[in-house]
């Protein structure tokens, strides 16, 4: 049963993703074609410069026109607009993002996919670490809050949640850098590792040292919200009749909380963790630019600053793919943890 559910969910996810890619292609078609055309012109100019100089001007014009027609045909630029949009979407779906106009990967490749593939693991590393710490802290605090709901700790931390509710993480990042990196000079102000990067074990220590500040910022912003949500989830469960029943049976409070309430609370809490990871992909990417953490978010900054449209687009497609994948995994995990969903299908 679960496998059928999985398959269904994955197919849904794929279909949605394909539709989204088509929408993006239609939306950004003009801009991307403009870049593509200028790239073609650039290539042709480079080719003519290498050519035999004995050609007559007519021959050169003819050659240019021929090359242009060939290249435009290659990139389907001579087709009607709807077919161009479809071609673009298919290109993207086969991970063929084209070439960057200015930017290069650290190995010097101009392939957009290479540039993005380099950044992806760094983003995942930063945000999973931060959210892992976040959830652990949120769990500890959230359980405390739920146990003594309406108490002093609960009230104070709930107000804390509301205080940081609209606080941009990148702004806190700016403050933290200003204070810890430039005033106290305790931590590096950004980037992945020192230059030149140390080797062996020292590399990982150096990486952690560079990660400390961004992770700290994300945790300080995030754990209020997660503890508040966990409180609400656990509190809702603690009011169920079966918890009352276990209490009347004389089972110790610790066991009620960790053994009985937590079992039921697990699916929504896992969902929450995954959702906040997703929210990071969707909402915290600006943050990377502040710390010059060379991940996907920073890539947005650089590609906008250098006006590198192919990289920007490729980045958007990858982010969307990640986001979609996250949503699918979320449902799968939820279905796995919550037996009710497995049986009855989605709805």
């Amino acid at each position: 049963m679960y496998w059928r559910y999985c398959l269904k969910r994955i197919i849904y996810g794929l279909v949605t993703f394909i539709i989204l890619i088509f929408i993006f292609s239609a939306l950004f078609n003009t801009t991307m074609e403009k870049t593509l055309r200028s790239q073609i012109e650039e290539e042709i100019r480079a080719e003519t410069l290498k050519m035999d100089t004995k050609m007559t001007p007519e021959e050169i014009t003819h050659f240019i026109a021929e090359r242009r027609a060939f290249k435009q045909h290659l990139y389907h630029l001579d087709k009607p607009i709807w077919s161009r949009i479809i071609w673009r979407a298919i290109d993207v779906l086969s991970l063929n993002f084209g070439k960057a106009t200015i930017m290069k990967s650290s190995a010097g490749e101009t392939d957009v996919w290479a540039i993005i593939a380099e950044c992806l693991p760094r983003t995942i590393l930063l945000f999973t670490t931060a959210i892992g710490i976040n959830i652990i802290l949120g769990l500890l605090l959230g359980l405390k809050k739920a146990q003594k709901a309406g108490g002093f700790v609960d009230k104070i931390t709930s107000i804390g949640t509301m205080v940081v509710y609209g606080m941009p993480s990148w702004w806190l990042g700016m403050l933290v850098i200003m204070f810890f990196s430039y005033k106290l000079r305790l931590f590096p102000s950004g980037s992945l590792h020192s230059i030149p990067p140390p080797s062996g074990l020292a590399y990982y220590i150096d990486l952690l040292y560079h990660m400390a500040l961004p992770v700290l910022t994300l945790v300080v912003i995030g754990f209020w919200g997660s503890s508040y949500l966990i409180r609400n989830i656990v509190l809702g469960i603690l009011q169920e009749d079966y918890i009352m029943a276990t209490r009347t049976r004389g089972i110790p409070e610790r066991k009620v909380l960790y053994g009985h309430a937590m079992r039921t609370a697990a699916p929504p809490i896992v969902t929450m963790a995954l959702l906040s990871l997703l929210a990071s992909v969707g909402g915290n990417i600006i943050f990377e630019g502040i710390f010059s953490w060379p991940g996907l978010g920073n890539l947005y900054w650089i590609s906008i600053e250098q006006n590198d449209v192919p990289v920007l687009m490729g980045n958007l497609f990858i982010t969307t793919a990640l986001y979609m994948a996250g949503l699918v995994i979320l449902d799968l995990v939820y279905g796995f943890l919550d037996p009710r969903i497995k049986v009855g299908g989605r709805r």
């Binding site: 709901a149 309406g150 709930s158 949640t161 941009p168 509190l235 630019g289 920007l312």
Partner: protein
Amino acid sequence: MRWPDIKEGFRNFWIEFKNIKFGLFGLFLLFIFILIVIINPYLVPFPDASSRWRDITYWEDNPVSAPPLWINWFSSVKRASSSIISEYTLTEEKKGNLTLNKMIFEYEFFYDRPPIDIIFHSYVVGSPVIILSMERPDGKIITLTKRVISKITGEDIRISIGNDSRTESYNFGMKYENPEQNRIERELIKPTRILFAEAEEGILVNPSFLKGIYKIMVDIVLPSSNDQVSESSLFISGGVSGWLGTDSAKRDIWSGIAAGVKWALLIGLLTAFTSVSIGVIYGVVSAYLGGWQDSLMQRIFEIFVGVPLLPVLIVMSAIFRPNIWTLIIMMSCFFWVGPVKTVRSMGLQIKEETYIEAAKAFGASSSRIIFKHMIPLLIPYSFASMALYVPSAIVYEASISLLGLGDATIVTWGQILHDALRGGAVINGLWWWVIPPGLFIALMGMTFAFIGFAMDKILHPKLRTR
């Protein structure tokens, strides 16, 4: 649902709301923000900040990157603060066709650091000659600069002592300085640091400042009777300026922030209102129609859910360069998915109520049932989620502006932060440029979070206590 019922509902809601302290505090903060928008011109020294934020001539008198004036209260070294002296004594003297005007401005200097610059402003018609000189507390008189103006028909003229009296103040300093020991190039001096210094050795390199009342005298020679000089004032460009200091482009940050309040409120409220309205209607319609229409609407909804919001908004802003209104529309296009799921499940419940059945039996149309009988029940929920959407809309706009993709015709907090990041405020520790805009974003977010969470607490009484 009839109007009196709604009124009654609101009254009950308000009675409950009154008991939640942080909710009331949120309302109070909101009231203050609205007050700032209304009385903005009386609150800020530069009321045109909103429309002339990128106009460098509007800000040219201010000092560059000056800290806020209240840091004098905490610092042992008091810096001169920025101010305008518009009071002066005027003596007039006629000599044939010529009129000699003499204005005397008094500047009380009781600080440890002199002002950065002193700027004389006046509205001039004709071709007068303006001579600026200064009488120091020790009785020494220095002629600062002379400006001959030829035939202008009414224009604001600006004489900056810091720029125009370089030679004079250098010569004044050289009279007392020991040239063998302390040589300094003329280009490197700061005129006000000499003019406000004790006349002794070291005046050029290591001055100690002379406190007291300085008289800045402006002699104006008006060659004909049609010529006139009016609306004169003296702008002291101090080492500290305004409630929140200035940025590296000499802009007064408090004026910018106060101007940003209205944009933040507009962006937040309008986006939240449109998107929640769309979302609620979509959810209810989907729940009410049911069947294949419901499935189709849910599929469309799922496509929108799969959109990573901020990246898409960033790319769209980078490519289409929206102004503030199109940005609000763009945000609403993606924000509406938020309430749909909850509203749909609530709608499915309401749909089964007997009074809906009764309305159907009476032959009420679908739109009547949806708008008259179902949506009113969801109004409290809508307001609560609207309040909670306001902060995210503001943060998203700020994020887009931070990347430099915002609407360049207005001033928002995100744009101030973008300038701060570009202007090296973080590296140089110009905290008064970095902290306030973000703090206001956070405060605005907090305001609506307080209101929204308070509403949420009323709607879900189960979560209050055990």
